[in-house]
């Protein structure tokens, strides 16, 4: 590890022949120049949480505007900018990269590797993501984009939105997309080649399975959006007419290319969260994962089917019925592996001995909330029903139950679970549980009533509505809930900042974890492991604890209670 060179052969007198010792870098420069997967992972987590706060503030401004009918707080131009910034930030700058952050930090540790396969490419991925975010947010200083995170052509074409904001959006998609693509290839190479001795495919942690499948989906889906935004860019500035009917182009082409990326993107955003709680639930139920193989297979099945459902976002477009039927059936099919996952999580809790710590609260909330998004998803898959509900607040509620109730609760579970490993200190349980309950109440208050607003005819993306429409009650409740949700998130932010200095010391394995990251110190040293144990099951740490117990029992020692 250290830079001391061995004494050169043939010299008899001990002589110092070392020419240069690389000083370990400290301070902010060490973060800027690092290629350590753990530091990169932490930078991802910090940066994405800042974007999460920004996106949240944008959401709260929209909720304030909609709290009462005929509100004049923000003008329509600003409102369109807010909805575009909110959606884009949450998808491209929070959820996808925060999962890359967890993957970066944890995948090498979980598979017993010292770093990612390509550490420098790993740093490149992170900085591409940061620059994508900066380019996008720089548009605040001239004219932010206003065509929604989907930027449907021809509205996003230069004939209707000349604003450079759309161009900033295009560059964001390019830069973050390239970052994700490079990162995904890195994950695939790492997971295929660098697993510890004994860790066959059947002994790989489910979180690593989820990141592997997330990576394959990114590699398949990202080229489509990269092509689409390039075509939009040339349509806007170089006279092409890919999406412009007056020049022989086709607006539906944009929608196909966008959703060919956009729907896999939904699974890209949820599968790693599934992986996170598949690590957490068994640990706190003190049981093995129920149906491990079915869980891994279901991830793969969801990913495969997830590539075949994109046009269910286009049920109201002029499209032949037979096409609609195909996409209805493929969307139905995806409910089966998703159902398997939910049942297996519940079966993992069944007959367990459940330890109620904060990570468990967030992890158990995921299936409880996601199932609501799943059921509304089946309703929306029936295309005649979608004709009624498409582009209403029912869809807004559906997607937030999936992405907030699902992914964000999963991310918070992961934060509470792995923070001790990353920082060496525990988060406060009291603040954690308080944060959970405030978020849980605020979330449901915000989004449950949005189903009703949609059912009674409120379209999404409108900056105001008349009193006569009768949507004020729903919207007011939703706004109150959204601020409660914001407070819940802030409690966790306070918890994290406070615990960095004042948290109880965690030790190597505070939760009695199952996977290899708990084998090393908290926080792990730069080389991760001095020795990598032989992996003999899907729960190597459980084996190691058993071994320790056996050997200490043989010596008649009662040094450490293990179970």
């Amino acid at each position: 590890m250290t830079a001391t060179a061995p004494p050169p052969a043939g010299t008899s007198s001990p002589e110092v022949t070392l020419r240069q010792i690389k000083e370990p870098q400290t301070g902010w420069l060490s973060w800027l120049t690092t290629t350590d997967h753990k530091k990169i992972g932490i930078m991802y987590l910090v940066a994405t949480f800042m974007f999460f706060i920004l996106g949240g503030v944008e959401a709260l401004l929209m909720r304030l505007q909609l709290a009462v009918s005929d509100n004049t707080l923000v003008n329509p131009h600003t409102y369109d900018a807010l909805l575009t910034m909110h959606g884009t930030t949450m998808v491209f700058l929070f959820i996808v990269p925060v999962l890359a952050g967890f993957g970066n930090y944890l995948v090498p540790l979980m598979i017993g590797a010292r770093d990612m396969a390509f550490p420098k490419l790993n740093a490149l991925s992170f900085w591409l993501f940061i620059f994508g975010g900066l380019v996008f947010y720089a548009s605040l200083f001239f004219d932010p984009p206003g065509a929604g995170w989907t930027s449907y052509a021809p509205l996003s074409d230069d004939a209707y939105l000349q604003s450079g904001g759309i161009d900033a959006w295009i560059f964001l998609v390019h830069l973050t997309g390239l970052g994700s693509l490079v990162g995904a290839i890195n994950f695939v190479a790492t997971i295929h080649n660098m697993r510890a001795k004994g860790m066959g495919w059947g002994r790989m942690p489910l979180f690593v399975w989820a990141i592997l499948i997330y990576s394959f989906m990114l590699i398949l889906a990202l080229p489509s959006i990269a092509a689409a935004v390039t075509m939009l860019l040339t349509d806007r500035h170089f006279g092409t007419a890919f999406f412009d009917t007056t020049g022989g182009g086709d607006p539906l082409l944009w929608q196909h290319m966008f959703w060919f990326f956009g729907h896999p993107e939904v699974y890209i955003m949820i599968l790693p969260a599934f992986g996170i709680i598949s690590e957490i639930l068994p640990v706190f139920a003190r049981k093995p994962m129920f149906g491990y193989k079915a869980m891994a297979a279901a991830l793969a099945a969801i990913a495969f089917l997830g590539m075949l459902v994109w046009a269910h976002h286009m049920f109201t477009t002029p499209t032949a019925t037979v096409v609609l039927v195909f996409f209805m059936l493929s969307s139905f099919a995806i409910a089966v592996p998703t159902g398997i996952k939910i049942f297996n999580w519940i079966a993992t809790l069944w007959r367990g001995s459940i330890v109620f710590k904060t990570p468990l609260y967030f992890a158990a909330a995921l299936p409880a909330l996601f199932v609501i998004g799943g059921i509304s998803g089946v309703l929306l898959a029936i295309f005649p029903v979608d004709w009624q509900l498409h582009d209403t607040y029912f869809v807004v509620a559906h997607l937030h139950y999936v992405l907030f109730g699902g992914t964000v609760f999963g991310i918070f579970a992961g934060l509470y679970y792995w923070f001790p490993k990353m920082s060496g200190r525990m988060l406060s349980e009291g603040l954690g549980k308080l944060s959970f309950w405030v978020m849980f109440a605020g979330f449901n208050l915000t989004f449950l009533v949005q189903h009703s607003a949609g059912l009674s005819g409120m379209p999404r993306r409108i900056y105001r509505y008349p009193e006569a429409a009768g949507w004020e009650g729903f919207n007011f409740i939703s706004t109150v809930g959204s601020f409660l949700l914001g407070i819940g998130v802030l409690i966790t932010v306070v918890n994290v900042i406070r615990s960095l200095k004042k948290g109880r010391r965690a030790g190597n394995d505070p939760w009695q974890g199952n996977t290899l990251e708990w084998f090393t110190q908290s926080p792990p040293p730069e080389n991760n492991f001095d020795v990598v144990p032989l992996v003999r099951s899907v729960e190597p740490m459980k084996d190691i604890r058993r071994e320790v117990e056996k050997s200490t029992a043989a010596e008649g020692s009662v040094a450490q209670p293990v179970s």
Partner: protein, 290 residues
Amino acid sequence: MPPALRSSRTTLALTGALLLLLVAAPAAFGGIFTFDEQGSQNGKDISFLYNITLIIGLVIFLVVEGAIIYCLVKYRARRGGPDAEQIRGNTPLEIGWTVGAAVILVGLTVLTFLYLGDITDPPASSANGYQAAEGVQFATRDQPKPPGNGALEIDVNGQQYMWRFDYPGSLKGEAERLYSFYEMVVPTNTTVTLNITASDVIHSWWIPTLGGKADATPGYTNETWFKIEKPGIYKGQCAELCGENHADMLARVRAVPPDEFRAWAAKQGADIKAAQVGLGLQRLQGVGSE
């Protein structure tokens, strides 16, 4: 710590009660869990499909939430309690719920197909409806032509930020040329087929109480239909983000008895003609005075 334990048990019980309330509520608050009352048969069929699926969904919801809450309460780790059972799986059970989920979805598919025809295919107009001109060529691509005669065809055009309605050749001599903006006037008991397009960006035609929405896409013609029994005003608005004033792109359908429709068409047609004549005169005078 018993107080914390008790308080989280109370919260669990409260959550349970809340979920129960959610199930009991549809009867008490119609229009919150279901669609508003529909004014056209396709809307009623869509509403029925939604209700059936919602009920199946609520049962699944209760089973899942019930199981989660039961496990969390029953299997909480207790001092001196039983150890966790090291169960790694149960193949018959796993196959069971996989097949079970698939069977439910096959059931939903069959149900959807049973109702699909009634939703997509326009029916014939009723005998007491407006009798439109015979032998009209319907510009249909995917949606079949309504059986018999007497259906009224309207071209809907979305433009930033208003709706234009043109009544092409199917009128029976009430007016030479007929169009309107914002308000579409239609006869009751008459099948009205809509050819929907847009002339700038994508819009979406939607009257929530008259069946589903259909995107108005430049370069394409989308189709839908409705047949209204009760006279009245049916309000809606554009449902696809189309620019800054998207929220103000309103539309309404006014359904009136056939006689009243005839009178309206004649007057509106005459007004349009008068306006055109007036415009022509203005232009002539303008040329003369130059």
